[in-house]
Amino acid sequence: MRTGIRTTFLLIILWGSLGGVHAQMTPVDEDLIARLKSDNLQTRAAAIPVAVPELLKRVWAEDMSWHHVSLQVLREAVWRATGDAYADDRRPLAAALVKGTAGRSSSVAARSEALELASLVASSESVPPLADLLADPDVGESARVCLVRIASRAPGAAGALRSALASASPERQVALINGLATARASFAEQAVRSWLNSPSADVRMAVLRALGSIGGAQSLDALWQTAEKGAQPERFAALDSILRIAENLPAEQARPVYEKVYTGSRGSVEKCAGLAGIARVRQAAAVPLLTQSLLAKEPDVRGLAALALAQMPGSSVSIRLAERLPVAPVEQQVAIVSVLARRYDAPSALALFRTAASERAELRAAAYQALAENRNASRQEVARVLAERLPTAQDAAERSALLSAAASVAHPSLLAPLMNEWEAGRGSTELLRALLAVADSCAAAGREEDAAKVYLLVAENATDRSLLRMAAASLKGAALREEFASRAGFVMHWWVLGPLKGRDKWFGQDAFPLDSPVDLSAKVTVDGEEFAWKPAAVGDPLGELDLSASAGPGEDTACYAYAEFISPSERDAWLRLGSDDGVIVSLNGQKVHEFKGERNYALDEDSVRVTLRRGTNVLLCKVLNAGGGYSVGARFVDLEGRPLRLEQRRP
């Protein structure tokens, strides 16, 4: 057997079968590495005691050249050994890794790394040497972590941690107690609890936390003492452990614990925890307390009660809530309705339909929203109720709730009643939003023409650009897209001139005078190159004129876009504009806006207040393109944001 280490660099292929195929240079003997990954058990067993210490010497060594490869070889050997096919490698690997740690021939970091790896393959046989290492000032902590990690499969590992407790320093006691907790060593409960009166606050804290993992009912009294009298953060820790212990107790034992947490709570978080526990162990019997908690002054307690009620299984819970509904105070009624919204069963839906006919407007409003949310309630039936109530809404709040519910339900049958609302002069953004949602459902049901009417209505009337965006995304067909843009007031007919090379130079100069009328039939000469104005039409529903298509592609260029339109009177308006990338804008020869950065085109990104003169107005945009595509789009809206559809000059 060759055990020597070559000083020459040899090519090795690491663990091709694992997929981690690397060609690497290492001073480790090629043959030794090959034997470490051999398919033959005996060959590997012989190689491991030699290869592991040699590789460890290179991990975290002063010369880090071989750290990476050596560590990877070790890791892959260990990872492979965690499987049944290479289970026989575990003992020699664990032994070599632990021995390599004790030998101090490697750096502290390498020894820690070895113990990390050993924790994946070590068994009971490694417990005594690992226990010996617990007191090691350099790698004691790594030995502890290794023992914790193997505790579930190595009898004696957790025992070694417990045995070390008595003679350890407070700092190490904390580590050992934490380890026992992580290892779920419930046999150590008493030993750990006995340190609850330690003079070290850190040790006491560790004990309080550990008891949540390894403690049982017998630790509760001790924990309560701290929870009731202690100061933060020990109080938090004790309370958390009490709650974790209760989670593992039978319901009848856990119930008084949760009730004590709830009644003795000093803040909302404790009240939440108690209430959640009561809901868990008492189920339907907790409904009265939870319903009462819907009126708690703390919002998180109210929220937790609502969530617990919404998620509690069984239609009997819905029935009890429905029974409570008519006799509860109105705030509680609203909260119950909100819970019923999230209980997707027949009794909850029935109760909500009943509530939608309540005499109280605020209750009806809550019921509309809840019906929209409750998927157990027939969509068609909910739509029928909403349609019936729309014309008789008592106040703005009820009307708003109806429209919001209509937008959620979005049933095609709502189209006619919503359009009636519009025609009755009760138009609003909320109504448009509901109409838009219903239009999408109509389109999904094949009623494309009905949907199109709504989309155009939105284009003409929306003052909220998110509505325009949503409607535009639903449009089908080029003709409809153009019509949409036109109704939304976009400039549809432009003349473009460009692309003119050298974006930056056009920030401060122009290719023609801006203070005199632009002659669209004249040629413009720039740097000896002749340019002509070309007509360009907008096809995009959100008004974007693609200049790459109409003027030609042009990285690092500028391009003019010109439009003329007629205002029937002098008036103030907003110019809404988007560009890709920068833009300098003139209106009737006066510069009114500029953006010199880079950006994508976005609807109405810039808003500029302008005065339109009576008669012909001229809009000139100089688009400055840094790279990729470039574009511009503009429209005028009145001071309330409604589109102005101005007559435009066409080619």
């Binding site: 694992l18 997929g19 981690g20 195929v21 690397h22 975290w60 880090m64 990476h68 890791r75 892959e76 990872w79 965690t82 499987g83 096919a85 820690s112 924790s119 994946l120 502890r144 972590v145 914790v148 990690r149 579930s152 700092e171 580590a175 380890g179 992580t182 560790a206 550990a210 933060q232 309370l239 958390d240 709650l243 974790r244 909302s268 978080v269 939440c272 925890a273 959640a276 919002p299 998180d300 307690v301 109210r302 609502a306 969530l307 969509r379 979005a410 095609p412 999408d440 459902s441 389109a443 999904a444 909220d464 998110s466 639903s474 089908k476 890709d580 950006r599 790279g627 990729g628 595509g629």
Partner: protein, 418 residues
Amino acid sequence: MKDRRLTRRSLLKAGAALALPAIIPARALGREDKVAASERITLGFIGVGGMGGAHLGGFLRNPRVDVIAVCDVYEPHLRNARERVGERCLAYKDFRHLLMRRDIDAVVISTPDHWHTLICIRAAEAGKDIYCEKPLTYSIGEGKPLIEAVRRYGRVFQVGSQQRSDRNFRFACELVRNGKIGKLHTVRTGFGRGPEGGDPAITAPPDGLDWDFYVGPAPMTPFQKGRFGFDFRWFTEYSGGILTDWGAHHNDIAQWGTGYDRSGPVEVEGTGAFPATGAFDTVQDYDVTFTYPDGVKLICSSRTNGVLFQGTRGEVAVNRGFLDASPKDLLEWRPGSEDVRLYESPGHREDWLDCIRSRRRPICDVEIGVSSVNICHLANIAIRLGRKLRYDPGQMRILDTPEAESLLFRPYRAPWSL
């Protein structure tokens, strides 16, 4: 703008992360700009470097919150954060001191991954609502205690897998959930290769960094430059590498589409390769196949980027700023009143703030965050062990040898414990 018109081909070839999806500001949703001080949610920030700094900027612009405390173990980050917030903000090195403050309603946690679970649990105990960056846990074994603690104390918990709040991802998942691509049989995800490199030289930690506190529950090692800052995620002591860093986004979406986002696969097998040089030691290439109880396969590979759902009648591909489908008309589909509609978030942070008020569960609740990152951890374990593993998603256990189970949890370095 450059490269804004993505194609499906470019999606599948791209290796780099695209821009973050836009968060819809409250203002755009028509909410009031001004919120009474008594109505504002008071926030503490734990970890104010990279992502923490970005979140801090986002929340400082939000009129619904007041940032009143920041915490970091790196003094320059802490000083910078405090200066950004102003004098009223107190600065802490130890997160436990911040959590003791009763006037803090909620915390934003953006530490390195190996700290997430421990701080989240302590925050839940202290009654704080929580926004925690992804990947939510460091190991599978941390998942259950974390979920239990959040439920025990009734906290509102949002995981920072913000793709869920992006319309394209939701739409793709709704197509799948409503059977629009037929019977789903395969999901393909990827996020390019993990990096290799990192200076292996052992040096002194930078001034102002409490290295022992930074390492915290992870094993102590000598300091190397990459271990602190953005590159921490390429070291196994602190993170699961590219598989958890990006898997917590794309695999999260994959499970959202399949409907297994509170559960998981029953089998996993895969291969991978680790960096050959440098200090980084998390997986670089990966090719992992998960099998779900209904036979659906999730194939996660470093050769692709994005999420592709494949069914018997079509496909839908989605990534940041990209959505495509075959047949094309799937893109024009809109859910009808009887169709499955997934949770629609107004923006990831806004959704969390809304839920703090309503006490409902946000779009990426703790249970979802745990399930999503668990499959990323499983992928790492399967690659390491080089064999097919059976998994019980309910119990979050590997049904294999006890030795393989050891990889489910790494005991914390003292004095830290869950």
